[in-house]
Amino acid sequence: MTDAALAGGVHAGPEPAPADAARMGGAAIGDRAYQLAILIFALCIPLLLAAIAGAVASAGWPAFREFGGSFLTSSRWDAVNGEFGAAPAIFGTLVSSVVALLIATPLAIGVAIFLSEFAPPWLRQPVAFLVDLLAAVPSVVYGLWGIFVLVPILREHVMPFLAGTLGLGGTPLFSGPAYGPSMLAAGLLLAIMVLPYVSAVTREVLLAVPRSQREAALALGATRWEMIWDAVLPYARSGIVGGIILGLGRALGETMAVTMVIGNRHELSASLFAPGYTLASLIANEFSEATGDLHVAALMAAGTTLFALTLIVNAIARWLVWRVARGPVGR
């Protein structure tokens, strides 16, 4: 009998004998109470999401009412005169996340292919474990490491190398003085942080590709890489894209580590060497010193924007992953 059949009704078996009727009646009440209880717990999840949406929207509402669409497009953030525009933070959120994904995606897919196709069995578990552990490291620890280890390395070695030795200093992307705290530092730290997410989803999706797909390619004389490139990756493509978008969702909302290395300046600059802001780091950095209700409301409106952004990104990602990995009804 399947779970679905069991879930069908209270009386899954044959009709009870008369002597047992009283006891079975008690069981029916127990069953009903139990079903109701877990239904309520399950409904807590949609309710929670709705409550979050409501809270975030109501907290940011005063700022949206005051500034309207210019909250999203203006780059003036002047707490003294009560003018708030979050364009630099939105820009910084997108740029740091895109930089992170540009670095993390090839690595993550490489790791996932290594783990699912090439790794010798004795190496598979340890490497998978170490990569998974990256996701368990608290954000604030990444931030601490970023401030005292990563940023100095970038300032002393990487930035001069990119600008000077490679001669990229003339391009707008790598121009300006190298202070250290910058969009580049944030992007790099985010890349490390989202890598385990992208790689875990990619690995899961690759494992869901049928064996026959691989064997057919090998039987046609493909090399192992050609098998992966021509037979496995196309099959898993939308799931991998889902994993990347999931990583994007993580990167967009990451707060502490970014706050600690991005420099926290309301600036729109094309250079990755320049400090910036993200929506999340804006809230984290300014909340404790927010002066007046409008300032707080503006910060919350940044939160509303972030919420909407990540909600959409996550919904798309989950849908793509589900389509490949398990289908919409669980495993």
């Binding site: 717990f41 399950a42 929670l48 290594f114 090439f118 999340a280 989950r318 009804v329």
Partner: protein, 309 residues
């Protein structure tokens, strides 16, 4: 040159035409190129695996080097000292984290386990599909957004920060994690076990709670521990809920210190003593997270025979 037997020239033998030779060479070149590409790309995946494991090792190395020296008994027994005074610890922050995470578990565990039970028992239904999807979406929301939620719910109306608000924010983060862990662990319980209990005349609710849930319990506990480890390191939602506190406090209605908050405050401060304290705090935090991760992995593998997650 002719064949001795027939006197006729051999038909399809040696001396290929220029055409044939070019074709053969092209084939050899193609095969060689395909082999090179194969080796290069395999090498790339090995390299990617090496590069991906390096940051963790780096971080652990620096945490040990910088943090170990400030990590004495003082760290666990005393409260923070003012700037300029050596010593001091994070005892209040450790207790604060325990308290806030305790509240989070009290909020998040029942909801998560209950919802997980529902998803496991009604897996094919439309409602289960929606709940599962929303749970995944909830899991992907930035933690700072859940902080805003708790702030709007429990800080703004009352006019002051509190440990309770921090606990609720972290509890909301735990819900989707525990839900998925519960559902997956219950789906690993063999159906025959459930059927045997039902055949013996157990009511469905008792079968679910005393047989199925009981069997899946070690896995669920592990999932809950992983969720606890995850929220114990959360900082962003605590910034405007628990807020932090330099002094001793165990009141749920007052602002309270937490380990990650304290690390953040100290890390962005300009003082060397505080930096050292931040490293020590980070070392403690990562030790907690790593121990839970390793133990949970060991328990899950020992029980269900699968190493992967």
């Amino acid at each position: 040159m002719s064949s001795p037997a027939t006197g006729l020239p051999p038909r399809a033998r040696p001396h290929p035409s220029g055409h044939q030779r070019a074709f053969a060479e092209r084939t050899v070149r193609t095969i060689r190129r395909r082999r090179v590409v194969n080796v290069v790309m395999m090498g790339f995946t090995y390299l990617a695996a090496a590069v991906a494991t390096l940051p963790l090792l780096f971080i652990l190395f620096h945490l040990l080097r910088e943090g170990a020296s400030s990590l004495g008994p003082d760290f666990f027994t005393s409260t923070p000292r003012p700037v300029g005074e050596a010593g001091g610890g994070m005892a209040n922050a450790i207790v604060g984290t325990l308290l806030v995470v305790g509240i989070a578990a009290a909020v998040g565990l029942p909801v998560g386990v209950g919802a997980g039970l529902y998803l496991a028992e009604h897996r094919g239904t439309r409602l289960a599909w929606v709940v599962r999807f929303l749970s995944d979406v909830l899991n992907g929301l930035p933690s700072i957004v859940l902080g805003i939620f708790a702030w709007d719910l429990l800080v703004r109306p009352f006019g002051h920060f509190s440990a309770l608000a921090g606990g609720v924010a972290l509890g909301a983060i735990m819900v989707p994690l525990v839900t998925r862990a519960t559902e997956e662990m219950i789906s690993l319980v063999p159906g025959s076990l459930r059927e045997a209990a039902l055949a013996l005349g157990y009511p469905r609710w008792r079968t679910s709670l005393t047989i199925v849930l009981r069997t899946a319990l070690p896995g669920i506990v592990t999932g809950a521990l992983v969720a606890v480890a995850r929220v114990a390191g959360e900082t962003a939602p605590l910034l405007f809920t628990a807020f932090g506190n330099q002094f001793w406090s165990t009141s749920v209605t007052q602002p309270i210190a937490a380990l990650p908050l304290q690390i953040f405050t100290y890390a962005i401060s300009p003082y060397d003593e505080w930096h050292a304290q931040a490293w020590a705090g980070a070392l403690v935090l990562i030790a907690i997270v790593l121990v839970i991760s390793v133990v949970s992995r060991y328990v899950t593998r020992a029980r269900f025979g699968t190493g992967s997650d």
